[in-house]
Symmetry: C2
Subunit: 251 residues, 2 copies
Amino acid sequence: MTSRKVISFENIKVACKNCSLATLCLPMGLTPDDVERLDGIIKRGRPYHRGDHLYRGGDKFHSLRVITSGSVKTYSPNEDGGEQVLGFHLPGELIGLDAIQDDNHTCSAIALETTAVCEIPFSQLESLSCIMPSLQHQMYRLLSREIGQETEMLTLLGKKSAEERLATFLLSFSERFKQRGFSASDFFLSMSRHEIGNYLGLAVETVSRLFTRFQDENLLHVERKHVQLLNIPRLYDIVQADSAKSSQSRI
Amino acid sequence: MTSRKVISFENIKVACKNCSLATLCLPMGLTPDDVERLDGIIKRGRPYHRGDHLYRGGDKFHSLRVITSGSVKTYSPNEDGGEQVLGFHLPGELIGLDAIQDDNHTCSAIALETTAVCEIPFSQLESLSCIMPSLQHQMYRLLSREIGQETEMLTLLGKKSAEERLATFLLSFSERFKQRGFSASDFFLSMSRHEIGNYLGLAVETVSRLFTRFQDENLLHVERKHVQLLNIPRLYDIVQADSAKSSQSRI
DNA sequence: AGACTTTCTTGATGCGGATCAAGTCATTTT
DNA sequence: AAAATGACTTGATCCGCATCAAGAAAGTCT
């Protein structure tokens, strides 16, 4: 808020150029000078606690946000109080892209645990991207990547079996944790079974049964939120094999 | 291809400023001068015939395309020859946004009937958007809108019944035809039942049965590709009512 | 026109996963 | 520590839609 530059531990810590997430978020591919300018418009706020909303559907849109620690669930509330979980977001991931459209958030975002974010005021980002072609390019790529990811989700929800859905889900987390320097085979899921089910288009009970089944088959060990993948190749097989089976879609 | 400017009926006909689709595609919100410049980079090719590919997954990406007449199906081919239909696109709609990501098309696009398109070389569009903030803004909005639309599809595939899916599908076409100045209640669908089913995550037989059922209930009259909606409000009820029922997703 | 192919429809059957119901375990409250 | 609450699991049952099968209608080829 204040424009005076105060040297503090926090300011140093959160500068984009020192951020370990830079390769995942916007600064990717920018020159040091560019990063400096981008850094100038980014705001760091107080952390959110479990259950706090980062924004809600209908809120005025002003900033994109990059998760820097913790995790976030985005969901689209429908009329009746129900919801569709749209995604689970880890550090380095950008959320709010869907709100550019008409300056209002169309979905909601809620912290699944203690979570810190960088806020990027969109109008400033837009101005900056006008004078920084590489930033503009990066923005286009990010928006396009988001579209590609949702496309994969469409295939998952349209064609895949419950087993495949959960395997895909687990491998997605495995890969993303690995990218971030954590174990690909031993991690904690911050969301509930219910939220997983909602995301994957399955009932809670089905998710629970699948975890049990996967454990019985020695594919993983699970105890509440703690998951250890014991046979990652086999999980990839499940994702592949069943999608080969579902040739129902040949036209 | 040739750089000589030849005055021809075609050239006149297809200028952006005279295009009836301008309010649906990129020129929306641009000044006449801006439209002129945009017009300068747009290419119009020979029309595609039914079954022709506009591009295939894996093709090098160079241009976004706006449908100007006809209709196009986009789909994501999966390993085994099956496919997930991603969308059906009408005049004024922009396709190829998913390919910006890594300079390659991730999905394929095929003409469902005789179809004309404008090609917009992306690198030129990008340069232009650097010097035309309103174009840049429009691009961000379009990309964001695409994300929002896919989000709605996720809810459809994740939570809705077969009946709701088909009603949603029909109303989507009804609205889009209306926007384009055609009848909202009497139109031809250019895709097969199989393609509709694939898109909606349903078997062909289910789609066929639902058409029959809707007809029996006097919601519509259907004869092969020709659809007449007889009770649009009731179709909206179906979309709403069932989504109120499915409160399974409350967390 | 006749043969063939493809698309669509309709009926019969079966299965995957939802729903219902109850119990277990963990966490929070008092 | 006991009670209450919420998250997860497990079992029983049910239903929506996929699948299988066959026929009808439309489009294509010769």
